[in-house]
Amino acid sequence: MQLFTRARGPVRRGPLRRSLCAVLLAAGACLALAGCGGSSGSSGKGTLVIYSAQHPETTAAIVAAFTKQTGIKVELKNDDEDVLTAQLEQEGSRSPADIFYTENSNWLQQLDDKGMLASVPSSTLARVPSRDNAANGKWLGVSGRYSVLIYNPGKISASQLPTTAEALADPKYKGKLELAPAETDFWPIITSMIRAHGRQAALTWLEGLKANAGSDDHTPDNETLVGDVSKGDADMGLINHYYYYRIRAEMGAANFHAKLAWLAPRDPGFVEDISGAAELKSAPHPAAAQKFLAFLVSQAGQNVIAHSKSFEYPLVSGVAPNAELPATSTLKPNPITPAQIGTGIDARNLLRQAGLI
């Protein structure tokens, strides 16, 4: 059985080493080639760098309009908002980013808490209602979304629907609710419930939601939740309004079986979430960054948002939202502000306590 020897014999192939060096050099060359060849995008001097966690298509359209108007070139880096926030924190003062543009204001608040944001010029801040900006003027509100109920009329009739967030925890909805607790959109509702009813009542409410959702208590994202409701796998869920419109547009009304229901005026579950932008303190191109912030809330910038398929509400008065959406004046959300929503730390702690994350 000569073949069945262990492969643990002494080293007999010293010569290999020299060849290995040659191969390693070749690999080095290969890496260098990849490094030089594809190297960094086109971020030359004077190119504004935007880290964006917003709807990529709409953002690209805003950027194109901005470049057309100002002649300033822009490089976009898209990723999820939590990852971009972490990346900005790791990069610190050496970040190549000028602007952070994101879907939920709590991330901007988190960066501001770490002292990483520059002040937004007051003339820019003045374009949008002051309640939609950071209290200290470090970030700018750009567009808004509202929390709504989505339901499948084949599973639950409109008259049976709850009209308040509080009622969602009612045991009569057991097995009818689907939850996506890890979605950032869900936290402002919790913060609002804490503000309205106190921490203990909010916890009891969350536990009620968890009990009603049963095994549907950890849907990963709102897209999945909307899809499940449309298919009738779930009766209803809490989402931000634009998921409903976007998914209906993608799937076509004929294939889409979910409906939208607004909560009662001023209900703590009826919350406006703000998408915002900020200039980083370390921005290599502060002047261009300020021009971009101003453009976001200019008539032209807000028009791009209003006409896009992202179905967000523009914040500047006089700019009408997408025609498919109800007019801003008809909506009566709870008065909670983004500043009160903060970084969402209380919401997180409560979610943990309720065992939802």
Partner: protein
Amino acid sequence: MATLSPPRTAAWMTRRRRPAREIGLLVVAGIIALALLSPLALVALDAHSAGWGEIHRTLFRARSVMLLRHTVVLAAIVAVAAALLGTGTAWLTERAALPARRLWTVLLVLPVAVPDFVVSYAWHSFAPRIPSLLGASIVMTLGTYPLVYLPVAAALRRADPSMEEAAHSLGVGRVATFRRVTLPLVRTAIIGGCVLVVLTVISEFGAFEILGYQTFTTEIFTEFQFDARAAGSLAIPLVLLGLAVLLAEGLLPGRTVAGSAPRRAVRPVRLRRMTVPAMAGLGALVVLAVGVPVGTIVYWMAAAQQTTLPAAATLTSATLTTLSYSAAGAAAAVVLALPVALISLRRSTVPRTVLERSTYLTKALPGVVIALSLVFFATRYAFGLYETSTLLVVAYVILNFPLALVCVKASVAHVPPRLTDVGRSLGRGPVAVFVRVTLPLLAPGLLAGFCLVFLTAVTELTATLVLAPIGVQTLATQFWAFQQNIAYSAAAPYALVMLALAVIPGTLLGLWFDRERSTRA
């Protein structure tokens, strides 16, 4: 290193010892291992800055027990299933008279190149009520069995079939021959593949998220949304699990078998009555692993209301970028894996084994942790590299090094040292011997390693989003951007191109093997 084990015989010592070269190889391997392990430093830093109180709060709660149980149970199920599927399919394509064998070789490796999101979305759509453990087991097994298939097929290709044929001719049944002769020949490859599978399961995120199966890694991502540093401490259990897996592998009785290179072509085993069931089995596997996701992609394109198809130019440039980054990453990973594979196989001592095993550890970490650690290091110590494609290629190497190592190791095991000695004794220089003797023998493993890393890098998303130079798009990032927008129809072509790219390495492997066969026959 001062801990080289004493040589076995005095004669060997006087005739063969070349300490300088020995140490040179060890130093090279040591540097590679250290570089690969650097992301662990950030986990430690994060954990340190989060503080013990936070770690304690994050790790020691009732939920952790559930997460640990989920992770371990799933890893065990998937490892066993992938080992069976991977080894079985490798035997069929390498040893059996299988009709359309080359086509199967290509199809069988494709699942690695299907984006997680597509697979899980497909399963979630087709079977929304599938229990999450079953769903996760199916998706992960279908996605990871090629990690066993490729190294085992490469090892079989290199293993001399004459032993098996002799056993069979002496009246040993096919099953017994497989168990007693073939299995020992491919043991290293199977175990190595299983380690990869387990580490992949531990660090997987996307698939579980959609299927609603909660593990430590899905928890890291949730935690990430609140506090990146606490997420860093959550990576600790993953590192420990990874260590446990590697330790378990090390404790398995070592019966690595060095076969000799095949002197002639394989005489394929005729399947006879089993041909139809074998083909049906392979067909079912391919339908589940490739057909279901491809069907989903085609459905997206057909059912879409918005026909926002991407511009051809965007698709082309994303394809070229993906191709060059993935190929560079795969080439570098294979080349770097060579010295590490050599040090552990030529002589096995504790320090060498530890060094080699340590390079697997990062595979247990989710991509986002690795990517952010590279952001940390590059912005502080190598700013010139930041936002360059070089850093992304480095990330691909760190993320996928073990894939290359397993394949290279499996074929190094089949290079008999005496062959190179013969080459040397015939007066050839070391380079000539390496190029003309060693390299051809290692080639299947190197090629398999290249293909595996390439395939995985093509669909890599997390690190690519974080580290790709600003403004540069790959197929995966474009797919992601549209999928984020719920523009599935626009995302679909990118997924199809990723699959098309995956056909290339599969075909290369098949073609190369056929050439080998015909030249030897």
